[in-house]
């Protein structure tokens, strides 16, 4: 059977990411959500987004939540029009996407891109439902440090081969605010009380983290927690973070 290639190693959100990561009250973490991903290319400033599918059957509603340059959060819901691009311009230009959610699974491959016919921000594969930013709508405090915690999964989608000596590393953290830590076992469903409460049993660091059990078995996923630390009075951040899962394969 086929060896593992880089594209087989896919990040997915934990359940309820579309709503739980917005506030300081909801439970965060849980089991893997194979329908939604945490990674995408952020829009360039003052963009308008459009959505197009490879299938004429994709006419479901799509909701895009975004932040505008003035800081306000806006939302737009439109019915897609299959292989004709649907332009999301009801709120004017946006500064960054926060969530893209389909009301039903993608029938064709759905592309979210700069309008008109510009750079691709993300493709939603058949069967999936969308993507959303992993840290969003948080804020620093005036007199104290604030810590935010979120969980996503790295999944080995290869159906037959284990990823050997699997390591999760932080490839880039330009804002220097994030550390990571792995769940104690693969395929876990651990949670934390809310996004400002540290998950139990997870050690956060900036160094490479070995997957429990050394290898990440075929179809297995490792829960990966992130901790973003905002110092007192920290300025607003519009940044990225790059996590990487690597190992060897036969």
């Amino acid at each position: 059977m086929a060896s593992i290639v880089s594209a087989d190693l896919v990040p997915f959100h934990a359940v309820n990411s579309a709503t739980a990561l917005d506030n300081d009250a909801s439970t965060v973490g849980g089991a893997i959500d194979l329908l939604r991903r945490p990674d995408f290319t952020q829009v360039t400033a003052a963009d308008t987004v459009e959505v197009i599918s490879s299938s004429a059957s994709d006419t479901q509603n799509c909701t895009i939540e975004a932040r505008k340059a003035d800081g306000t959060v806006v939302t737009e819901t439109l019915a897609l029009t299959g292989t004709t691009a649907k332009i999301f311009a009801g709120n004017g230009a946006i500064d960054r996407m926060l969530k893209v959610e389909l009301a039903s699974n993608a029938i064709g491959t759905i592309t979210v891109r700069k309008s008109v016919a510009g750079a691709t921000y993300r493709q939603i594969p058949i069967g999936e439902r969308g993507f959303n930013a992993i840290f969003r709508k948080g804020a620093s405090a005036v007199g104290s440090t604030v810590n935010y915690y979120v969980k996503f999964f790295w999944k080995n989608t290869n159906s037959t081969n284990a990823l050997l000596t699997a390591l999760v590393t932080e490839s880039a953290d330009p804002s220097a605010t994030i550390t990571h830590g792995l769940a104690a076992s693969v395929n876990d469903s651990g949670t934390t009380t809310n996004r400002i409460t540290a998950p139990g049993g997870v050690t956060f660091a900036g160094t490479a983290a070995a997957v429990p059990g050394t290898d990440l078995a075929a179809t297995a996923a490792i829960g990966t927690w992130l901790n973003m630390t905002l110092s007192a009075g920290a300025a607003a951040i519009r940044s990225t973070y790059t996590s990487q899962l690597a190992g060897s394969t036969t």
Partner: protein
């Protein structure tokens, strides 16, 4: 029905509602579906009648149904085409926009991954019946 827009503004097919509470008289089925979609991501809160709520529920596919479609797409390799396309698009953008922030090893791995993904997609494009594993094996020469 009553809608509370929790963000600064919610735009939908045919209109815009500003942040705050709105009374909607006789909402159409299409409007109810779009309200359900916005509510599912927490952008609005809806107070609806039993009938309106039933229409809204029907407009959102349960995750369990989506997972069945996902499994089917993974079995026939059509999911892999989208996954490869996404990998190429997002990693190429990452290398272009933030390549200087990555260490040398990470950058090299991503560059190799993008080239692999392109080659696998090319092979799949020539297949009569999509077979991701066969395409990977052909590309890697395994």
């Amino acid at each position: 029905m009553r809608i509370e827009v929790l963000s600064t503004q919610w735009a939908y097919d045919g209109g815009v509602l500003a942040g705050g509470v709105h009374e909607i008289d006789k909402p159409s089925k299409k409007f109810l579906g779009q309200a359900a979609s916005a509510e599912s991501v927490g952008s609005i809160k809806v107070l609806a009648s039993t009938e309106e709520r039933a229409t809204m529920r029907a407009a959102i596919e349960p995750d369990g149904e989506s997972l069945k479609a996902l499994e089917k797409a993974q079995a026939n390799s059509t999911w892999h085409e989208g996954n490869l396309g996404d990998y190429i698009a997002t990693k190429t953008a990452l290398l272009k926009d933030a390549g200087d922030q990555l260490d040398e090893e990470s950058r090299a791995q991503l560059e190799q991954g993008v080239e692999q993904a392109k080659a696998i997609l090319k092979v799949m494009g020539k297949q009569n019946k999509k077979d991701y594993d066969a395409a990977v094996t052909e590309v890697l020469g395994g």
